[in-house]
């Protein structure tokens, strides 16, 4: 069955099972490998994408339910000023260790700042609580979000 998707501002047509999770449509049908598989049960956040501005776990999102909505993935997240600020802070602070969770972290952080430009510490921890980092880069994730939000002076030091 054909599903029409709006991915990163482009119209994409996929011929697939409507129940196939968006994660696997991105990775297998659209050859966009930035979005990662970690748990398949909306428990780790590695597969996070934005759908109409909301951080969503693509591993449990049947592709049919994403039809016609604006999907933004890690490959395109830096195209908005907020996403760009997040990505730059992530690089400057060298947030990643193994890096596997980081696509999901960056998308979640971007969704947070798009809605809440100056989050409190609690808002940061709560918005990011669905994203596991097995390497435990959490201190830098907090710092990078604050830096991207312009909340911490000299945070890049």
């Amino acid at each position: 069955m054909a599903t029409e998707l709006m991915v990163n501002g482009e119209k994409r047509q996929v011929e697939t099972d409507p129940q196939k999770p968006l994660l696997w449509v991105l990775r297998e049908d659209l050859d966009m490998l930035g979005t990662k598989f970690g748990c398949g049960m909306a428990l780790c956040g590695a597969c996070t994408v934005m759908i109409d501005g909301q951080a969503v776990r693509s591993c449990t999102t049947p592709v049919a339910t994403a039809a016609g909505k604006q999907i933004t993935t890690i490959e395109h997240v830096a195209s908005t000023p907020v996403g760009k600020a997040v990505s730059e802070a992530w690089t400057e602070l060298d947030v990643p260790q193994c890096g596997y969770c980081q696509a999901g972290q960056i998308v979640s952080a971007t969704a947070l700042l798009a809605k809440t430009p100056k989050p409190t510490d609690q808002q940061i921890d709560s918005a990011m609580s669905g994203n596991i980092c097995r390497c435990a880069t959490y201190l830098r994730i907090r710092k990078a979000i604050k830096q991207a939000a312009g909340l911490e002076e000299g945070a890049a030091a």
Binding site: V95, Q97, C98, Y100, A103, C133, R134, C135, A136, Y138
Partner: protein
């Protein structure tokens, strides 16, 4: 610009590396990716591009420990190029060219700090020789900087300089100097080593580029999902291949034997399809029937009962015996006894196990997220009955290792699938449940401890009956304790004994293996001993360590065969340092009102040649939930922190990893010979809200060899948290993980 070298005419340069490993320092193409059309290969680690930029090889797998940045830093420093001129690549896995290639044991730094510098320095000499020959001047009139050779003195007054790129074709033909005698820089002149460099892959990770094993894509590739026998060692009786093959998109159903479980055969069935999602969905139609009769008797409850029975009986073996512990304990002024235990736990790398392989004409090529490719080559060679030389292994970036990917079971699996479907690359991906159920777990264990103090509050005797997993007097993989477990070597009356509980569960190495469990046991127990001695743990440690001296660290040799030493002075220095950093003033903690309790704890551990002392502050809520507020870390890994930003990140990550082991509820239980956890809801990892506000790290720089940082910061935080919980609540944590309900008020 020079013409590219003809690959068949390039010079063959050989040299021997320190540490006994013979390395063919061989100017052949060995990098993971094809060189740019005009790049010139100087040696197996260095390629020069016409624009005078350099591709430098990193020979070890990258699991997030930062070697793909650190190893090229070492080479670039001595090559004398600017870091901005460098791009880094992981080399191919080839032990004949690169020697021992591993991400494990915190070995990369101690085994490569000098050799990689020597390789950079040797290449620099080759450029100098090439310039000297071109200009007809003595080498000692030439200097280097920023990837150029310059003449600044000598017979000609004219200053001249030439880029390495312009010299590359000539340099590549010059015999490499002896690595052992090649001059190295004075560390005071380092421009790259000791400077913080962000990970070379960081921009690509942030951009979502496909770097990981799971991202591998090859023309014509098929995808495989796997259904493995839940009970370790079980065999396949039957399955419904027809039902699976009847489903759309299914290419093949391949029964296989992992051939890897060290405890015997372990059967599985692979489903191959055009899409991994389709293959994985089809598992529900497979209806495998397993024969697991022989495994039914293995369960956590049975292990516990057996351990308790063994504890009550005479030990089966001895780990270390000195003097007469029984007599010394009987005559001690005070004795302390306690029992400790910890469970099987999983690695839970965030990137699930996966591997891609392509079998054709009796040869196989891998794109493997493996921490130990040489073992992968060996086990695949055995499983397929093909020569090691018929196996090519490309190392991908790895989404977390923690020791899980030292075991190459997934390589054996995908090799068998690829052999069944020759000519098509196959990518095998496990689900999270597969990953949690088919790990090589950190083995659990039990300890029955007794310590004796003299009248001055000094520890004088120690006995431990250690119950671990094993059979026929042999511990399972990663389940051993050594004779040098602290504080045994410090005492003249010691009895470390051992008994074994049989299990079918495969075990392996988890970040800081054995240390992650034994630090908890011994540093927590020593806190109990300190209390009985009327003091705190840092002070008891100082008393026990005694004066500064170097002791053999016994039978825990490194993979390079050398035996690490234990320097009591270095231990004291990090203990003193962390106490000063945290403002430690002795035991402190207690009621903070409204059922909230606060406490401070300390832990020290020496592992992987690194000395670490840590202090933590915890808050225990009314409902028993423990949060770690702040952690102070003092570490000594020798005279040079190579990449300070990454060193900090490794230490911080290790601390939060250890925090997860004690506080997140990590525990694998065994029923009917199978592990019972399925995903992150029943096998939780620390989340952002569990991270402390800060983990402050300071280095005690000592004049000792530079050693690794992937592991040694982890062990001490576990007892430090346990001891802080005791300080806060008066409840001793003697069993992992912490159960919050038991701390509720």
């Amino acid at each position: 610009m020079n013409a590219p070298l003809n690959m068949n005419r390039r010079a063959l340069l050989k040299a021997t590396l320190v540490g006994g490993a013979v390395l063919a320092f061989d100017a052949r193409f060995a990098f993971a990716q094809a060189p740019g059309e005009k790049a010139i290969i100087i040696n197996a680690y260095i390629r020069v591009n016409p624009d005078n930029s350099f591709v430098i090889g990193s020979k070890n797998p990258e699991v997030g420990q930062g070697v793909i940045t650190m190893l090229p830093m070492l080479i670039a420093e001595e090559l004398d190029v600017d870091w901005t001129q460098v791009t880094a690549e992981t080399t191919i896995a080839d032990e004949k060219v690169y020697g021992f290639q591993v991400a494990g044991g915190s070995f990369t730094t101690p085994m490569n700090y000098m050799p990689m510098r020597q390789i950079g320095a040797a290449a620099r000499q080759m450029f100098i020789k090439a310039a000297a020959a071109r200009w007809g001047v003595p080498e000692d009139t030439l200097t280097t900087s920023g990837g150029r050779v310059s003449q600044t003195s000598g017979s000609t007054t004219a200053k001249r300089s030439v880029t390495y790129a312009e010299l590359a074709a000539e340099a590549a033909k010059i015999a490499a100097p002896d690595l052992k005698t090649v001059p190295l820089k004075d560390p005071a002149t380092f421009k790259i080593i000791g400077q913080s460099k962000i990970g070379v892959d960081t921009p690509a990770i942030v951009a979502g580029k496909p770097l990981f094993g799971i991202d591998v894509k090859k023309p014509g590739m098929l995808h495989a999902a796997i259904e493995a026998c839940p009970a370790y060692g079980g065999t396949l009786t039957s399955f419904d291949a027809d039902a699976v093959k009847a489903l759309p998109g299914i290419i093949a159903v391949v029964p296989l034997n992992s051939g890897y479980n060290p405890k015997g055969p372990h059967d599985a069935v692979a489903i191959v399809a055009e899409s991994w999602w389709v293959a994985n969905q089809a598992r529900s139609a497979l209806k495998p029937v397993w024969n697991t009769e022989a495994q039914k008797r293995f369960s956590s409850a049975a292990f516990k009962a057996s351990a308790e029975a063994k504890m009550a009986a005479a030990p089966e073996g001895s780990v270390h015996k000195a003097g007469d512990a029984a007599k010394a304990l009987a005559s001690a002024a005070k004795t302390v006894t306690a029992r400790y235990d910890y469970p099987y736990i999983a690695h839970a790398t965030l990137e699930p196990q996966n591997c891609t392989a392509h079998f054709e004409n009796g040869k196989i090529e891998f794109w493997a997220p493996t921490q130990l490719p040489a073992d992968g080559r060996k086990v695949v060679s055995e499983a397929l009955g093909i020569a090691p030389d018929a196996i090519t292994i490309h190392m991908t970036r790895i989404g977390g290792g923690f020791g899980r990917r030292l075991m190459n079971d997934y390589m054996v699996q995908v090799a068998q699938i690829a052999k069944a479907l020759p000519g098509r690359p196959i990518k095998l991906i496990w689900t999270r449940t597969d990953d949690l159920r088919h790990d090589f777990f950190r083995p659990g264990g039990w300890h029955d401890l007794k310590a004796g103090l003299d009248g001055e509050g000094k520890l004088v005797a120690l006995a431990d009956h250690f119950i671990t997993y094993g059979k026929d007097s042999k511990p399972d993989t990663g389940a051993a304790m050594t004779a040098t477990e602290f504080p045994a070597p410090m005492l003249s009356d010691v009895d470390l004994s051992v008994s074994y509980v049989e299990s079918n569960v495969p075990t392996g190495y988890l970040r800081a293996p054995s240390s992650n469990a034994l630090a908890f046991v011994f540093q927590s127990f020593l806190d109990e001993v300190a209390l009985a001695a009327g003091t705190d743990l840092p002070e008891l440690m100082r008393r026990t360590l005694g004066e500064a001296r170097v002791m053999k660290h016994g039978n825990r040799p490194g993979m390079d065969g050398s035996v690490p030493e234990f320097n009591t002075g270095r231990a004291r220095a990090v203990i003193d340092k962390v106490c000063q950093m945290a403002g430690w003033t002795g035991r402190s903690g207690g009621d903070a009102g409204n059922g909230v309790r606060k406490g401070r704890g300390f832990g020290f551990y020496y592992s992987h040649r690194g000395y670490f002392a840590e202090v933590v502050d915890v808050t225990v809520a009314k409902n028993g939930k423990v949060s770690v507020d702040k952690v102070w870390v003092a570490g000594d890994v020798g005279r040079q922190i190579i990449n300070p930003i990454n060193a900090l990140h490794q230490a911080q990550g290790s601390v939060i990893d250890g925090l997860g082991q004690i506080l997140s509820g990590q525990k694998i239980e065994i029923r009917d010979g199978a592990a019972n956890r399925t995903n992150f809801h029943d096998y939780p990892l620390p989340r952002i809200g569990d991270a402390p506000a800060d983990v402050v790290v300071e280095w005690v720089v000592s004049d000792n060899d530079t050693t690794g940082l992937g592991e040694p910061a982890l062990p001490p935080v576990i007892p430090a948290i346990a001891n802080a919980i005791f300080a806060a609540t008066g409840k001793r944590i003697r069993s992992l993980p912490v159960v919050p309900a038991e701390l509720a008020v």
